[in-house]
Symmetry: C2
DNA sequence: CGACAAATCTTGACACCGTCAACATACATC
DNA sequence: GATGTATGTTGACGGTGTCAAGATTTGTCG
């Protein structure tokens, strides 16, 4: 290993992921191209194809990182049972919105059409996303067992609807339909009241 | 006008819109290219640029059609005050989901990132979308005046949150995250209960 | 150590894409 | 009939994802 003009790059796979994250932060997801990414790393256009099946594979890997970050935060939020559902859910909503808006591009990738509808999601990505949601469902169930939430409600449905609502709000912001963050905060409180007092 | 090998196409603008709708229905929005569309109409690659500023302009025009269709349906739904909010909202939800899933590609265009975040929406599109939402807000206000909805709630916020929830569900379906339509029906009923009994 | 296989990286090529510039044709109007 | 405008054309530029074939390095086994 001459260390200087090395033919093999070392850990191109990881470097690709890191650089891709930078590009996405700079120019959004549509600004990410395989060729441009290769250029930035001073590597040939097709080098990445030895580490990812295709562009979809790379995107899935980036989305996976997002899910791991979110899961870590989620674990903290779900680790102990709340005293008041209303306060907890407001806290949860804020954390969710913060994640979705601060890592907007990651969020769009994690739940967006390019991966889930068109390019098939990687099996590992599928599992990560499923686990994240599942841990939320189980949290709702634990809350029901402690009588924090009415037990006659279907835990899965409750989790789906409450998450779907948050997801809807986040999409409205990230897609540029609602841009007023204050409105969103207020909407968030409204939806909290709906879920918590029911 | 020789009628046969006519140089001028007649009403290319409308034909472009019609054919684009077909392409979108066949191959989804990403399958629509300016060049491919021109080919299908037997016209040169840049002919469309005399009728739309650029691809974004064409997409906006398609989205406008979607908004007009939705507004027509909306007018019917909002024309008279309901007797029961719960029944009405269930009816409304179903209509919204039907529209969003049956015209999935149109829906994604109407509320999707490509237009609102990246390519700036046309002024006319902006107005159409604003009007549609505004008519919903005014409906909520009328319901409040008739004491069908608690008056202390902010009508705008209520409209935003309820619509945001429906939008969230639709995105989950259209983006391929939830594919089970039965689950969605059930989720829909759950969210109805949240809004109607509050 | 040498040979051979696997991993990794390269260039070349293909088929797309959006869109600008320059030019050609048809139509409308004075 | 001349002239301007609307509409159509081809040519070109730079961009994209990705496949095939060849080059080079690394890992493995006798």
């Amino acid at each position: 290993m001459t260390d200087k003009n090395k033919y093999h790059h070392g850990d191109l796979q990881q470097k690709l992921l890191n650089e891709a994250a930078l590009v996405i932060a700079e120019k959004s997801i549509d600004g990410l191209s395989m060729r441009g990414l290769a250029d930035r790393l001073g590597v040939s256009r097709t080098a990445a194809y030895h580490h990812f099946k295709d562009k979809n594979g790379l995107l899935c890997a980036i989305a996976e990182d997002g899910f791991r970050r979110w899961q870590a935060e989620l674990d903290g939020l779900l680790s102990q049972l709340p005293e008041s559902m209303e306060i907890w859910f407001e806290h949860f909503s804020r954390a969710y919105l913060d994640f979705a808006t601060e890592s907007a591009e990651h969020y769009d990738l994690m739940f967006g059409r390019p991966i889930w509808k068109h390019g098939q999601p990687t099996e590992s990505l599928r599992k990560l996303s499923y686990d994240a949601f599942q841990s939320y469902v189980e949290f709702v169930e634990r809350c029901q067992q402690k009588n924090l939430i009415a037990e006659e409600q279907n835990a899965l449905r409750l989790a789906q609807v409450s998450w779907g609502t948050l997801h809807g709000l986040c999409r409205l912001i990230n897609d540029g339909i609602y841009i007023d963050r204050d409105s969103v905060e207020d909407m968030c409180k409204n939806s909290v009241r709906l879920f918590a007092t029911n």
